[in-house]
């Protein structure tokens, strides 16, 4: 699914004044949702969308480390300035949807965007 289709489903818009059209055609293959950094870090996110209510700079960090395609903030939340700066630097598009987490997830799931694998080969656990 293209990023622009995801945005349409979520009624999402750019979370700050950036023009995100260049990334509109990026492919989103799955979605992960959480408000806990450690949860997010247990996901394996290449090409995944991150849905979250967290708006601080560390959300961008973990999205960078896990190669998320984009971040969408739920409940109309907007990213903090430090977060915007880092996202710009790392080229991670940021969106905001007025929907609550439950409905945002529900809509994407109903549109058949899969949950994505939880883990890559984990040797110990």
């Amino acid at each position: 699914m293209k990023l622009k289709d995801v945005c349409k489903i979520l009624e999402a818009e750019s979370a700050w004044e950036a023009d995100w059209t260049p990334s509109a055609t990026r492919e989103v293959t799955s979605c992960q949702a959480s408000d806990l950094i450690s949860d997010i870090l247990s996901f394996r996110g290449p090409d995944s969308l991150l849905l979250t209510g967290l708006t601080n700079v560390q959300v961008i960090r973990v999205a960078e480390l896990l190669d998320f395609v984009a971040i969408c903030f739920v409940r109309g939340k907007r990213p903090e300035p430090e977060a915007v700066k880092l996202a710009e630097d790392k080229d991670i598009p940021l969106f905001a949807t007025p929907l609550l987490m439950y409905e945002a997830c529900g809509r994407l799931y109903a549109a058949r965007l899969p949950a994505g694998t939880k883990k890559e080969a984990s040797p110990i656990a």
Binding site: L41, N56, L65, D67, A125
Partner: protein
């Protein structure tokens, strides 16, 4: 394969911004500049038009066509202000290049002044030639980057003649600096990718480093992260002389956390960090002495495992 190549080019086109390819040292004229001076200005700078700027603001644009028209009218004495186009169409430096190219095409213009977003300050000028040259240059750069990366990644350890060799990266982590924390993990990730280590392995190393880094940031006054990269493993050593951990087994348990409320409000403190490190590691060891400090050692095998 051809399809892939095209997507790569399309991606590049969408990625490039006007600011990446524009001419930065723009020649400008003032509204009061006599039109008779234009000949030298255009000729000496080998340009076919120039923005007209007054008090740092873009007020018009004048081109060689305007100049020729003026010549045809018998070179009457007048200033640039009388001859320039006033309703200038400009682009912003952060605009995608593709949009600007479309504008050039649609309007049939030879050049567009580039403004800093939200201002009327001219920061550059974009011509048709620039856009294509910029694209080609970028393609070339990417191509070469890919080549050197390939060369490096496959040979870095093979090229070294030694019984054992390793690369050591050190990262200083400050305690309490929330905004900057994570930079070590990010830096390590970038470096490991450049070494050509497979992305899944890189992610595991980055996550382990990140969790350790955040623990240093929240629970200590800072510490040191050392990454030792060898041909078949990545070892991480994280040391601090902070308060130490009373019961290491308990700390390792998923869900155990002593994080205060302000930490939890930021999305941390689930008590999952050390557990995450363990799931990323092939080997992990945590030693701590209260009042002395903590030492975490992690080993991730490169190749094979992933």
């Amino acid at each position: 394969m051809p399809e892939l190549e095209i997507t790569k080019i399309q991606e590049l086109i969408y990625e490039l911004r006007v600011g990446d390819v524009m001419h930065k040292d723009v020649v400008t004229v003032m509204p009061s500049t006599p039109v008779s001076k234009l000949r030298e200005i255009l000729r000496d700078n080998r340009i076919s038009g120039t923005p007209v700027v007054e008090n740092g603001r873009l007020v018009g644009i004048i081109s060689v066509e305007d100049f020729i028209k003026w010549l045809g009218e018998g070179s009457p004495g007048c200033a640039v202000a009388d001859r320039m186009t006033r309703n200038v169409i400009a682009v912003c430096a952060d605009e995608p290049l593709i949009q600007a190219i479309n504008k050039l095409e649609r309007l049939g213009f030879g050049r567009l002044p580039v403004l800093k977003r939200g201002t009327e300050e001219v920061v550059g000028i974009l011509t048709r030639g620039d856009s294509i040259a910029g694209l080609l240059k970028k393609l070339d750069v990417d191509y070469r980057q890919a080549e050197t990366r390939h060369a490096r990644s496959s040979h870095i350890f093979e090229d070294i003649v030694a019984d054992r060799s390793s690369l050591i990266f050190e990262y200083d982590v400050a305690g309490g600096s929330f905004d900057r924390a994570g930079a070590s993990a990010s830096g390590l990730k970038t470096s490991l990718m450049r070494l050509g280590i497979n992305p899944q392995t890189v992610r595991r190393a980055a996550i382990a480093t990140y969790e350790a880094e955040m623990n240093l940031m929240f629970f200590t006054n800072g510490g040191l992260i050392t990454a030792i990269i060898e041909s078949n493993s990545i070892r991480l050593e994280v040391t601090d002389d902070g308060p130490g951990i009373e019961n290491v087994d308990q700390a390792m348990r998923p869900g155990f956390s002593t994080a205060p409320d302000w930490v939890r409000e930021l999305g941390f403190g689930a008590g999952m960090g050390l557990h995450n490190i363990k799931t990323c590691a092939d080997r992990m060891r945590l030693d701590s002495t209260v009042g002395v400090g903590t030492r975490l050692a992690v080993e991730i095998f490169v190749g094979g495992q992933t």
